[in-house]
């Protein structure tokens, strides 16, 4: 018979394994949910595309007589090719799940490749692949709508010989702007916060007098700041940084600079604490050896201490980048929520996290798009993580 102690030991081990399994299952479930929902929408167009769609409105009043355009060899089974107009259509869904008719091919000699603009007599517009068909009114007043589907659209185009009104739009809803904003925020925030944070940590650990009350209070305050909810920093950004940046640059709303300053305040305590933790792990022997070799304190700090602390500082950077990319509450106040394609640092725009918030806060929350953006955020974080690990391995002795 096995002893009580043995059974108790095994039971405890089992319990601990089960608890960690629960945590693992939750993590895997979250990833599975995000990937299964978002991966269908994930495409190069989503990443590089504009958010705002451009609508083109044109007409073609000349009777078309020929009907001999050749279908391209790359035409798939799902595409419908109109031999009269030299254009092909396909059924599709946009990022919000609405049914649309995509234009997948336009022959270079097609009349549609160059038609007069309805809104501007002197201009012409070009219908091209990648655009979506919104409405068409043929000269006999037959209407074509996206809900008719690609097959019906093809039938109509093949039978009708002139168009009174055609409206197409570029696909839109892409996240390029938000992606670029996020990268801007990461870089600008780190440029502001990293030197301040690292030097503060160096002061606190290397130069500040030990057992000094003021220094200890300061350190406690910094630790407390780590736990302050970011929305409070967002209010600070709106109340302090936006007016300051506005008076300096003439920006009239929340902007990227005020956003970066707000994020810098948020990550500053993280950088200070984790850099100080790293400095604590650097053996005192290095300091002593350096000083015994006739180096002064600055040389010791910069050549030995700071150099040995680089891996630790880099992981602080990694934590901060995660925080910056994931931050949404504070940015809603400090930058605003309008999604932009052209990124100007003195104007509003949104980060990917706020983009998700914006997608989900509409009348119909778009889970698929939110998940697709989440996947991109995860990929960005993963790439950063791996590159930091790589750099640390390269420079660490």
């Amino acid at each position: 018979m096995k002893s009580k102690r043995y059974v108790k030991d095994k039971l405890t081990q089992l319990l601990i394994s089960l608890v960690s399994l629960v945590g693992l299952i939750i993590l895997v479930a979250v990833f599975f949910y995000v990937f299964s929902n978002g991966s269908s929408l994930l495409s190069w167009n989503l990443i590089t595309g504009d958010y705002n769609s451009n609508v083109f409105n044109g007409y073609y009043s000349t009777e078309i007589t020929t009907n001999d355009f050749a279908a391209p060899s790359s035409l798939s089974d799902e595409e419908y090719f109109s031999t009269r107009w030299g254009i092909s259509f396909m059924d599709d869904e946009d990022t919000e799940g609405h049914h649309i008719i995509m234009i997948t091919y336009v022959d270079i000699d097609s009349p549609l490749a160059n038609i007069p603009d309805k809104n501007d007599e002197t201009a012409t517009i070009s219908i091209s692949s990648g655009q979506k068909l919104m409405t068409v009114r043929f000269s006999d007043n037959t209407m074509l709508l996206p809900s008719n589907g690609a097959e019906k659209a093809n039938q109509l185009f093949d039978t009708k010989t002139s168009i009174a009104d055609i409206m197409v739009s570029t696909s839109g809803k892409g996240i390029r702007g938000s992606l670029i904003t996020t990268l801007y925020l990461v870089i600008m925030t780190l440029v502001i916060a990293l030197p301040i944070g690292v030097f503060t940590a160096i002061y606190l650990h290397e130069f500040a007098p030990k057992k000094n009350k003021f220094v200890n209070v300061l350190r406690r305050l910094i630790e407390m700041l780590t736990g302050v909810p970011s929305i409070i920093f967002g209010l600070l950004g709106a109340a302090v940084f936006i007016p300051i940046v506005s008076s300096l640059t003439g920006a009239d709303t929340g902007n990227l600079i005020s956003g970066s300053l707000t994020l810098a305040v948020i990550i500053l305590p993280v950088i200070i604490s984790s850099t100080e933790e790293t400095l604590k792990t650097i053996p005192d022997e290095y300091r002593q050896a350096s000083l015994a070799l006739g180096a002064n304190r600055n040389q010791t700090t910069f050549k030995i201490i700071l150099k040995s602390a680089i891996p630790g500082i880099l992981s602080a950077v990694l934590l901060s980048v995660g925080r910056i990319i994931g931050e949404s509450a504070a940015l809603i106040y400090a930058i605003g929520t309008s999604i932009k394609d052209e990124i100007i640092i003195t104007e509003r725009s949104t980060s990917l996290a706020v983009h998700i918030w914006s997608v989900m806060s509409g009348e119909v929350p778009n889970f698929e798009l939110a998940c697709a953006i989440s996947i991109i955020i995860l990929i960005v974080v993963l790439v950063l993580n791996l590159s930091v690990k790589f750099i640390v391995r390269k420079i660490a002795y």
Binding site: E285, R287, Q288, L291, A292, G294, N296, K307, A396, Y397
Partner: protein
């Protein structure tokens, strides 16, 4: 006999605790002086006072004076950085910096403002040769110093100190973390270095003191009990306490 250090009425306190009491001794040039005594007797403290490494410890109060080549090292206009470039130090635990072997040895000269690559190269190679390490590391100067064995690391630390071209090298139990073979190599090296440098060595190992040193100082509870030629101390000590200690009756 020429004297490098002249110590007069040296008293040292860590806060309220007395670590050194009325120490008077001279350290002769180009000889090996060993400091022996049981743990906590103040031998390391005395050694670290010689290049003022005790300055780094808060609550450390020093009274009395130490003259280094005639200059009072505690006087206000004495440059401690200058002292430390002339008085090198090797620690108990090998403590190479986390950088390449070359950069470790070049660290001291670089901190003094030497930038010329050729001069640095020559200094480093010469220092490594003097520390009897060059033949073992000549092909991997760019590799991490942390990959060397413990004994090699300690010889690297000696090379690092030599690269400063000091007059004195202080060694704080330099072999206590090493195996017997590495210890023997370091001891040979110390005897070799005696030609050019004055060496003060703290050691726990009495055989080591007997083997390599010219003079031996025995400390007990912060007091200098006896200081004489090593032969004399080990064959015919003047004080009963010294005899008890070296014969292993306490310690």
């Amino acid at each position: 006999m020429e004297k490098v250090f002249t110590i007069k009425k040296l008293n040292l306190k860590y806060g309220e605790k007395t670590a050194l009491l009325d120490i008077n001794m001279d350290i002769p040039k180009n000889e090996i002086t060993a400091l022996i005594g049981p743990s906590g007797c103040g031998k390391s403290t005395l050694l670290r006072t010689l290049n003022r490494m005790n300055d780094l410890i808060e609550n450390c109060h020093v009274k009395g004076d130490i003259k280094y080549e005639g200059n009072d090292i505690f006087s206000k206009d004495f440059d401690v950085i200058d002292l430390r470039t002339n008085v090198g130090m090797v620690f108990q635990k090998p403590n190479p910096f986390p950088m390449s072997i070359f950069d470790n040895v070049a660290y001291g000269p670089r901190c003094q403002g030497v930038k010329d690559k050729k001069i640095l190269q020559e200094t480093v190679i010469q220092a490594l040769k003097n520390a009897a390490l060059y033949d073992e590391v000549r092909d991997r100067l760019k590799e991490s110093a942390k990959e060397l064995s413990g004994g090699q690391q300690q010889r690297l630390c000696i090379a690092r100190a030599i690269a400063m071209r000091p007059d004195v090298i202080l060694m704080d139990e330099p072999t206590s973390a090493l195996d017997p073979i590495a210890t023997a190599k370091i001891e040979d090296l110390i005897l070799e270095l005696k030609q050019k440098y004055t060496i003060v060595i703290v050691t726990h190992n009495m055989q080591q003191a007997a083997r390599i040193s010219d003079n031996t100082a025995f400390l007990l509870m912060g007091e200098l009990i006896e200081y004489d030629k090593t032969d004399k101390i080990f064959s015919n000590p003047a004080k009963a306490k010294t005899e008890e200690y070296i014969t292993g009756r306490f310690g």
